[in-house]
Symmetry: C2
Subunit: 217 residues, 2 copies
Amino acid sequence: MASSPRRVGADTSKTRDVLLDCVEKMVLAKGYASVSYRALATEAGVTASLVQYYFPTLDDIFLAAIRRYSDRNLAALQKALSRRSDDPLRALWEYSWDEATATLTTEFMALGNHRESIRSEIAEVTERVRSLQLDVLAAKFGRDGSPDGQLSIGAALLLITGIPKFLNLEEGIGVTTEHAALVDALERYLDSVEPRTGPAKRKRRPRTAAPDKSSLS
Amino acid sequence: MASSPRRVGADTSKTRDVLLDCVEKMVLAKGYASVSYRALATEAGVTASLVQYYFPTLDDIFLAAIRRYSDRNLAALQKALSRRSDDPLRALWEYSWDEATATLTTEFMALGNHRESIRSEIAEVTERVRSLQLDVLAAKFGRDGSPDGQLSIGAALLLITGIPKFLNLEEGIGVTTEHAALVDALERYLDSVEPRTGPAKRKRRPRTAAPDKSSLS
DNA sequence: GTCTATACGGCGATAGAC
DNA sequence: GTCTATCGCCGTATAGAC
């Protein structure tokens, strides 16, 4: 077919990668709504037109950011899980508390809620991650097994990965009432199904006071 | 003190109330980002300037919508809980699945994540709701009691109200893998701590296929 | 392949006329 | 109480320079 007149920068461009770094930084700091052509250009020290050369629409920016982040993230998850095949539940619990992961995921999820192209991309990587996580749990507990004789591995997986996301969402607006109680309950559950090897001292999760809401620009 | 020059429409205005109805409708249908002065004015059949007369900034629109909705919602929750003081956990579980409640709450939460005035309003009503819910659970199980001898009432509360929100968020983007497993687990938990009075047939929760993503305007 | 200049209409917001 | 005019930022399309 005849080529469309619109030209787009190469995926391999160094500039493009720098722009995506800035996008992640901006989304983490001030949310996806703070990402505009002009703001992103300023952050990266280029012209707004150049940003548009690599990303014809705003959705293209977010789509590229999500894809790049997801690939990196999936690789990290895979590595973490393969390294701890003896305690996958605990590995998933700690992984799910990772601040950047949780914040970016939630932010992109909110963004995708009403934008079809982003919605389907998020859905796809969410399914891919879940499938991988299920496989790992199935390898330890059996496909129809259970860590504790009560919860199926699917239910346990959703609890262990979902609770941190939910609590993170609340903490993002400054609500933490009874959070410690639920975290304790989940950690006691983990202790019972995947006993700790080292001393029983409970490691506080490294939660910063709150996502930065003030100190930028 | 000297009055500020800016004039604002009365809280009791009929027009103002109609506008807030439209805001709720728009947020549910297409998300908070779809609410603009012009779009809202069109929806309500008035001029954009009139909307601005009642709500000087966009945040004022959302703040008013959140406050009106929260009051209504808190009253409904209070009524539901007082009507079912024998099975508060089940009442909270069903309440938390309410589609409009979950969608509006999540939408406003995402909105509040990076907007201070909205963030604090959401935080306040979230705390107020949680406090009410905790009181009701404390009345049945004791302030330091437990429904099952394991989970504290706080942990149980967060599970029962948080899981639906998390699953709803995922369903919003079209992901449902293993959701049924977790729902089953929670319902079995409820059956064990608040036995059903009627027949054991499980009522499907009335979940529509998906939030409307296409059929509007 | 990389980058820029310019233009258009919609947006939130303000000041002020009727 | 209602509405107009205006400002500066936004997404984005296009035309073209190096």
